[in-house]
Symmetry: C2
Subunit: 490 residues, 2 copies
């Protein structure tokens, strides 16, 4: 049997060969490919759902929703390719008469960066995994994809990989356009990221995992970009007038958001900031009553359960932290998480970095602030986040620009009177944010713009018209939006 | 006297305070600011040109051109801000009736990333320095800028910094919107890049310098993006039919490009690839006759001269390298570079990594290939480049797609029948490329798109109309191009 390095080398060599062909495939043909993948995944039907359910403990209903979302992501990328304007074509035509020097004809568009290595997430076996958002957007960009299968749902990953490979074959694309590498050890991922043929990395998971890959990639002789979407505690600010008016209603909304999917979402609200007053007491009381009725349920796997229990125990044992409520419903299995709400004063929170860390699961910490200035101070001390949420009246939103600005500055998505859980797949979605939410805040992982992680601009100077890519030909045969001599035009 | 760290800390704190205000300044007001900077630089008149000439040995005529270019870059960014569509606004309106879940209203635009540290280049005291392309684009983005003045043109840098600071004051912007830090030592740059307030870095210069800053920034507790534009040998491929038709003419064009500005351009053609035949002999003969007449001239400074002499000596002493020509004109000063052309066989070139390194100055290496397959093989072994050039007939361009594709894949800009020197400031320009040309091929340093290095997408979910930034308001008060519910519209 060949050893690991030989196997990885053979996979990456195939990806490199495939890139030479796949990068030239038209947007329309790539759209057909993405839709074929979606159809093949649909065709797997209930057996795929059952396999994922057995591997992840995620309820079937949610898996069916995630399955639909995964196909929709592929469809979204297919539409992006068909529309075509995403390549950001810019044309500056020659100015032969210009003095003192003539201007040559220059044309630019986005082209694929090269083979991409994708690490799927444990908590989304479909939508952020083998044929999830990273894979869909990288394939859309024209990059071959090598997926490192997640060991927590190895069979699911294999099944989806087969669906993608079948589409590669049906669509007549080169062999190495997609590859799936199984393997439990970190060594597999390490070998993939360090391979000279890899040109970018997509990762969804923990801060430790994502940061390790980022460091590895930057230590290569040729550093490559890594987009790691990592942890986030997603602060929620409860403004006093809002609480005065709707403490109980807000509490019920958040009881649901905090415990949804046993809190195993990267947008789970793990931190609640409010001013300590009787309205906050009402909020906590209602929240507690709701959370104590939420039945513990199995987490994704034993590792994630142990991580939750460990971090929860550490958090609850910090000086000054009060456990407000734990679910009163009895556990019926060993890897079931107990939904938990704790509270702490702002002064202790500010001094204890442990309390700023994510506890991945159904856990949220309420930070009791003394007044609005103190609340602002706490916000200013938070790290980068995927989301921030402001529960406020419209007047409070208007009257507190510094709180709004500061929240906006630390996160990728700022929500007004809503919950952070639920990530729409659309153009306006930013699923990303300043470190440690991701390793590069300039990109996002969800929606059509996610393709930008895997492309780079390339200029063509003085090229004969007929040898230019269709996107850059003067007649604009693809009818895409372009900037021509400083004007947006189609 | 305060120590270095205290000084840097005070500068960065001011930048942080300024960011809170400057990030909210409208595009129109930032455009006025950039134009005021340009006017202040113009007002410095001849004394600025003379100072730069004394510090860099660059001829006055070229400095005047670069001065004009610098003001044009500021103007280009001002126009970008006035037009406004660069923020990539995307709006997905609410779908309250959608089943199973309603869609909230989500709107996204690019916002500034935070204070940016800029390291100017020695070879462009205006256009890539204190108020050069990095500073102009970062200020346009809404980021305060801290410039580390280049010690090789310290007075020039101080003068330009004064012009910027005067504009900050005239335009009523906060103090820390721009700062200039002088200092010879690497410690100054190191302290700036490591400061927690710094959120991105722009650098133009050597591979060693740019890579060192990149590594520093990635080792921070919070890694930040570094865009280093570094070395490049800018391969030029001479195809046989082109040489057969125009060997002498191509040689004269390249004699000029190689020795322009004593070769001190990052787009200097340092590598020429061709098939070894009598037409190449003609090319070399004509090139040699032209280069031997080019008078040695002073390089930018003693350090750059010593670096050139050192690297040139090492390159010429490699086994199998033949010195084709050195300038026959006598040197009249101690830091004058001797224009030099060398040649080597492809087999030796492929085996000796030293020959792939940049020799910054008027030096070019001709690699003699055996045939087209061998030529392709050499191209496949090149590292990332800012530019690649193909001198070919149209038929050769058409008949050799793999050579074209491979050249395109290693560089940011692919030139057909031209020279790489001369970087247009326009939308379609890509001044960047795969490592080691830059540290992130997904961005470029020249033209309006250079602003993208300093911004990140931010979403607003469910925000009241009147509290949204103007760019995202439904009525589109700025009349910018946006994607609204999947459609491009204005």
């Amino acid at each position: 049997m060949e050893n690991l390095q030989q196997h990885i080398d053979s996979v990456m060599q195939k990806a490199s060969e495939a890139f030479k062909i796949y990068r030239k495939v038209s947007g329309k043909d790539k759209a057909v490919f993405l839709r074929t993948i979606a159809q093949n995944i649909l065709d797997l039907g209930d057996s795929l759902i059952q396999t994922a359910h057995q591997e992840t403990n995620i309820p079937e209903a949610r898996l069916i929703g995630e399955h639909t979302r995964t196909c929709f992501q592929l469809e979204t990328n297919a539409r992006l390719l068909e529309e075509g304007s995403w390549v950001e074509a810019r044309i500056d035509t020659a100015l032969p008469e210009r003095a003192p020097m003539p201007r040559p004809d220059i044309r630019k568009m986005l082209i694929p960066i090269g083979p991409v290595v994708v690490f799927g997430a444990s908590n989304f076996p479909f939508a952020y995994s083998t044929a999830g958002g990273d894979t869909a957007s990288a394939l859309a960009a024209g990059c071959p994809v090598v997926v490192k299968g997640h060991p927590a749902h190895a069979k699911t990953s294999e099944m989806v990989a087969e669906a993608v490979l079948k589409a590669v074959s049906t669509c007549g694309l080169p062999d190495g356009t997609f590859a799936h590498v199984a393997g439990h050890s970190f060594e597999v991922g390490r070998a993939l990221v360090l391979h000279p043929i890899a040109k970018a990395v997509g990762f969804t998971g923990s801060l430790n995992g994502g940061k390790a890959l980022f460091d590895l990639a930057n230590q290569r002789p040729e550093p490559i970009p890594v987009f790691s979407e990592m942890g986030s505690i997603n602060p929620v600010v409860l403004m006093p007038e809002k609480l005065k008016a709707e403490a109980s209603q807000v509490a019920l909304t958040y009881a649901n958001s905090i415990t949804l999917g046993m809190g195993q979402f990267c947008t789970n609200p793990g931190l609640i900031l409010a001013i300590d007053n009787p309205d906050l007491d009402t909020f906590i009381e209602t929240l507690s009553k709701a959370v104590e009725q939420v039945a513990p349920a199995a987490m994704l796997n034993a590792g994630i359960y142990q991580n939750f229990e460990g971090k929860r125990t550490v958090a609850l044992s910090q000086e000054g932290v009060k456990t407000e409520v734990e679910s009163l419903v009895e556990k019926t299995g060993i890897i079931q998480a107990i939904p938990t709400i704790a509270s702490v004063s702002s002064s202790i929170f500010l001094e204890n970095p442990t309390l700023h860390q994510e506890v991945f699961g159904p856990y949220s910490l309420i930070v009791k602030c003394t007044d609005l200035d103190n609340l602002l101070q706490v916000i200013q001390h938070l790290e980068g986040q995927l989301t921030s949420t402001l529960m406020a009246t419209e007047e409070e939103l208007q009257d507190n620009p510094e709180i709004v600005e500061t929240l906006r500055n630390i996160c990728g998505r700022l929500i007004f009177n809503g919950v952070p859980t639920g990530v729409e797949v659309c153009y306006a979605m930013q699923h990303g944010g300043p470190f440690p939410a991701t390793t590069d805040a300039r990109f996002g992982a969800v929606g059509p713009d996610a393709i930008k992680r895997w492309v780079r601009p390339a200029s063509f100077q003085n090229f004969p018209e007929k040898l230019l890519p269709a996107e850059l030909q003067s007649q604009n045969p693809l009818n895409i939006w372009r900037i021509v001599n400083d004007e947006w035009t189609r």
